[in-house]
């Protein structure tokens, strides 16, 4: 029997933070596994190193903070951050890229703000953007699709993990978006650049890119599963994808030589990963449905703008970080209406019909 007064409710829904994190990790698994199949052992090793280092950094920070690390490590948020960082890296990147990425994500992206739930920016995207700016060569060396058992063996792969992709051009190439950027600088048009582009291969993920960029289809399915599980809401993905589609269709219809079609936009880069797993990050997205729609639309516009007119081929990371910065503002201005009050907080005036 209780001694100190306990307030209700005395029952709960039973959804825990670790339960949510586990679901998100599960939803990412199909795409991750496909990537390991597509790019072989180095990818698996890189992923494991990144996740392990993310957990180590988390434990270290918690130790510095003087709190027990185990309950926090068990909630799975560090694993998820590590996995998302790994998914934003080129599949054959050297191990230290993963470690530095985890360090940026966990230490600078999360713990300096006060830990879980306090960060302003999405840690994984922060890590990706910081790495992209700091190590442009390593972050843009994309290995060709080299399926498991056809590429380097289990032991040989450790060499790739240690030093990255061997410097032979035959092994690497550009991502679709990268090729477009390069092509534009050579005054080529979209159809000229995308001669051997296959929309179907892009959809299933048979293309160069980071782990989170290749298989749009599996990421989309994972996202739908999260929606069904009620872990994410439809507002952000729907408004993000819709905005991007509308913008791409308008501009592609206006000038097909210089603007990509919606299909290419949606299937290249990290769009699906961002729409369902990054932009929907609870901590760094707005709280209200309307705010989430605004946030998603903002992300969609920024992605299109950066891809079409920016200096970088892929704009998702920057778009997310910029919109993250707007989240507090959105939350400040867009609030739910309180029962019996107008949106401005004044009580409903009953003298007016």
């Amino acid at each position: 029997m209780s001694v100190k007064p306990i307030s209700g409710p005395h029952v709960g829904a039973g959804q825990r933070v670790d339960w949510i994190m586990r679901r998100v990790i599960i939803a990412l698994m199909p795409a991750s596994i496909l990537n390991i199949i597509l790019f072989g052992w180095p990818t698996l090793y890189l992923g494991l190193v990144t996740i392990a280092s993310a957990m180590l950094f988390e434990a270290w920070c918690l130790k510095l903070k003087g709190v027990k690390a185990l309950p926090f490590l068990r909630d799975g948020s560090a694993v998820l951050t590590g996995l998302l960082v790994a998914m934003s890296l080129p599949p054959w990147a050297p191990w230290w890229i993963g470690v530095v990425g985890s360090a940026i994500a966990i230490i600078l992206g999360k713990q300096v703000y006060g830990g879980l739930g306090q960060n302003l920016f999405n840690p994984a995207m922060l890590a990706r953007v910081a790495l992209l700016i700091s190590f442009p060569i390593e972050m843009t060396t994309w290995v060709n699709v080299t399926p498991l058992f056809t590429g380097p063996g289990i032991l040989e792969s450790f060499g790739i993990l240690a030093s990255g992709v061997p410097a032979t051009d035959s092994l690497t190439g550009a991502t679709t978006l990268g090729a477009i950027k390069t092509g534009f600088s050579l005054n080529q048009t979209v159809p000229q650049i995308l001669t051997d582009y296959s929309g179907f291969l892009a959809l299933i993920g048979w293309e160069r890119g980071s782990l989170g960029e290749t298989s749009s289809l599996l990421l989309l399915l994972g996202g739908f599963w999260l929606l069904r599980q009620g872990i994410i809401q439809w507002h952000i993905p729907a408004s993000l994808l819709l905005t991007l589609t509308i913008l791409a269709t308008i501009f592609h219809g206006y000038d097909p030589d210089h603007y990509l079609s919606a299909w290419v936009h949606l299937n290249s880069g990290a769009i699906m990963l961002v729409a369902f797993f990054i932009a929907t990050d609870y901590v760094t997205s707005p709280n209200t449905p309307l705010g989430q729609i605004v946030f998603g639309a903002g992300c969609g516009i920024l992605i299109f703008v950066i891809r079409s007119w920016g200096g970088y081929p892929e704009g998702t990371g920057f778009a997310i970080l910029l919109m993250n910065a707007f989240t507090p503002l959105i939350d400040h201005y867009i609030r739910p209406r309180i029962y019996g009050r107008y949106r401005n907080g004044k009580p409903i005036d009953i003298s007016q019909p």
Binding site: P5, S7, H10, G12, R337, I350
Partner: protein, 498 residues
């Protein structure tokens, strides 16, 4: 499109595991043995406590007045059975703090003998004032848990122009089925009560809202209302907190009560369904509110059921009747599991507010670790009022109560939906209850400091006055002395120079 966002009829809320089937198909048990002693607190309602009119040693009959209501918002207390008043003393209250409350203790004589009552020939011929008067004299209060004196509400309804009486039969709390059973078994009486209420307020029509997880109750209420077209029985979705009166009203009619107003402001009065039954008993049978139907359920209860319990019966006796394994009780709750209060002991009486006694086992409740907020906004989605629980709680945690108030703390109804869904197990509602209490305390402190200032000023003024008076007195004495000295000197001078 925007209108959908602006005025949803049903907003937020949760669907908790119902646990209602355990008790909803069993009849109300009427055979609870008469307890040897009844403990009747003098305050079982909102407002001023009732003032005892009986002395220790008095013999009382069942239904006899024990304590009369004081002031406009109060309710009288009656003897639940016949016997002798053996004490009027402070006893632990059925409240989370178990602090003492003034309690009248009756030793029952086992005869259960009614006082003589005058029953009106045709209750429906009574005029409105008479109905309100009888309801008030019977000590009827809101039975849904708010325990607001019903007569006050009826009077308020009569003086304002009321077009709709809403009968709240949502009973949205998990486990509880007392209203369900009452409607299944005593629907005709409830309908009589509703008609009396309508008459008491000169209101033209009534709407009864019943959650759709109570099909039998809905059926029997519809059957009972067949001859009374002014009463409309409607099904509402099962979604906690449907039984929040304003939510029920919004769903049934689409109307919202202004945040700074009452239901009567928009021509509506909302009563609980069990209150309607109590009104029937008060007016048609002349019986005051001395018993109520209580749901006894939970993992530690071997025979979960609804029991008609006399007010003042110790919880422990009811628990024994339902074969509760006391060693298995992890938490004892009065009311429902969402808004009910955990009681620290079983030796407290059943009161008018007690809709259920839940003896929950360790498997029923959860006391998980609190984790940091991950801003998942589930609480915002679940809030039926449209508040931002996570923001409010984070302000309250650092004692910035003013900011929490600006975010709408005072509109919170403590329904617990936010705490229920929170994946980090943050005791959100507990924060809000604490903050409301703290605000009240601060208000009182400010009041006291004003009073203190007044007292100090008064005292200083008085001191100043006394000082001035003393000075004046001293001056007067000095002057008188000087005068005397002068006169003496004159006399001496005269004496010297005759």
């Amino acid at each position: 499109m925007l209108a959908i966002f602006e005025n949803p009829r049903l907003r937020g809320g949760i669907h908790a595991e119902e646990h209602k089937a355990e008790t909803s198909d069993q009849p109300i048990a009427l055979n609870l043995p008469l307890p040897n002693k009844l403990y009747i607190p003098v305050q079982q309602h909102v407002g001023k406590p009732a003032e005892p009119v009986v002395k220790v040693g008095d013999k009382v009959l069942k239904g006899q007045l024990l304590a009369y209501s004081q002031g406009t918002i109060s309710a009288p207390i009656h003897a639940p059975s016949s016997g002798t008043v053996i004490d009027v003393m402070e006893c632990p209250a059925p409240h989370p703090s178990a602090l003492p409350i003034r309690t009248i203790i009756i030793e029952t004589d086992g005869l259960d003998q009614w006082r003589s009552t005058i029953i009106p020939d045709d209750p429906f011929a009574l005029n409105a004032e008479e109905i309100c008067l009888r309801v008030g004299a019977a000590g009827v209060v809101g039975m849904g848990g708010a325990v607001f004196p019903s007569a006050v509400k009826l009077n308020l309804g009569r003086t304002n122009k009321i077009h709709t009486l809403v009968i709240n039969a949502g009973e949205c709390e998990p486990y509880l089925t007392c209203d369900d059973l009452l409607m299944q078994e005593r629907a005709t009486h409830i309908v009589s009560g509703i008609r009396l209420m309508l008459r008491g307020m000169h209101a033209p029509k009534a709407m009864v809202g019943i959650e759709d997880n109570k099909p039998q109750a809905f059926q029997s209420m519809q059957d009972a209302c067949r001859d009374f077209p002014e009463i409309e029985v409607k099904q509402v979705p099962t979604r906690y907190p449907m039984g929040w009166d304003r939510q029920m009203l919004r769903y049934l009619t689409g109307w919202e009560i202004p945040a700074d107003g009452r239901a009567t402001d928009i021509g509506v009065v909302i009563h609980n369904v069990a209150t309607a039954y109590a009104v029937y008993r008060a007016v048609c049978l002349g019986q005051p509110l001395i018993s109520r139907v209580v749901t006894i359920a939970g993992g530690a209860v071997a025979k979960p059921q609804n029991v008609e319990v006399l007010i003042g019966t110790m919880l422990s006796e009811v628990l024994t009747f339902c074969e509760v394994d006391k060693t298995k009780i992890a938490r004892l709750i009065m009311g429902g599991p969402m808004m009910g209060d955990a009681l620290p002991l079983t030796d407290v009486p059943v009161v008018k507010a007690c809709s259920g006694i839940l003896a929950l086992s360790a498997a029923d409740i959860e006391e998980p670790e609190v984790q940091p907020c991950i801003r998942c906004s589930s609480c915002i989605t679940a809030c039926p009022v449209g508040l931002l629980p996570l923001e409010m709680a984070s302000r309250i945690r650092v004692n910035k109560l003013d900011e929490a108030v600006q975010l709408g703390l005072k509109d919170c109804i403590n329904c617990g939906s936010c705490s229920y869904v929170c994946p980090s197990n943050i005791p959100l509602v507990h924060y809000f209850k604490y903050a409301s209490g703290e605000l009240f305390k601060r208000q009182q402190m400010e009041h006291k400091s004003e009073q203190t200032k007044r007292l100090i000023n008064d005292r200083n003024d008085r001191m100043e006055r006394i000082r001035l008076e003393n000075e004046a007195e001293a001056r007067r004495v000095m002057e008188a002395r000087a005068e005397r000295a002068r006169k003496d000197a004159e006399q001496i001078a005269q004496g010297v120079q005759p």
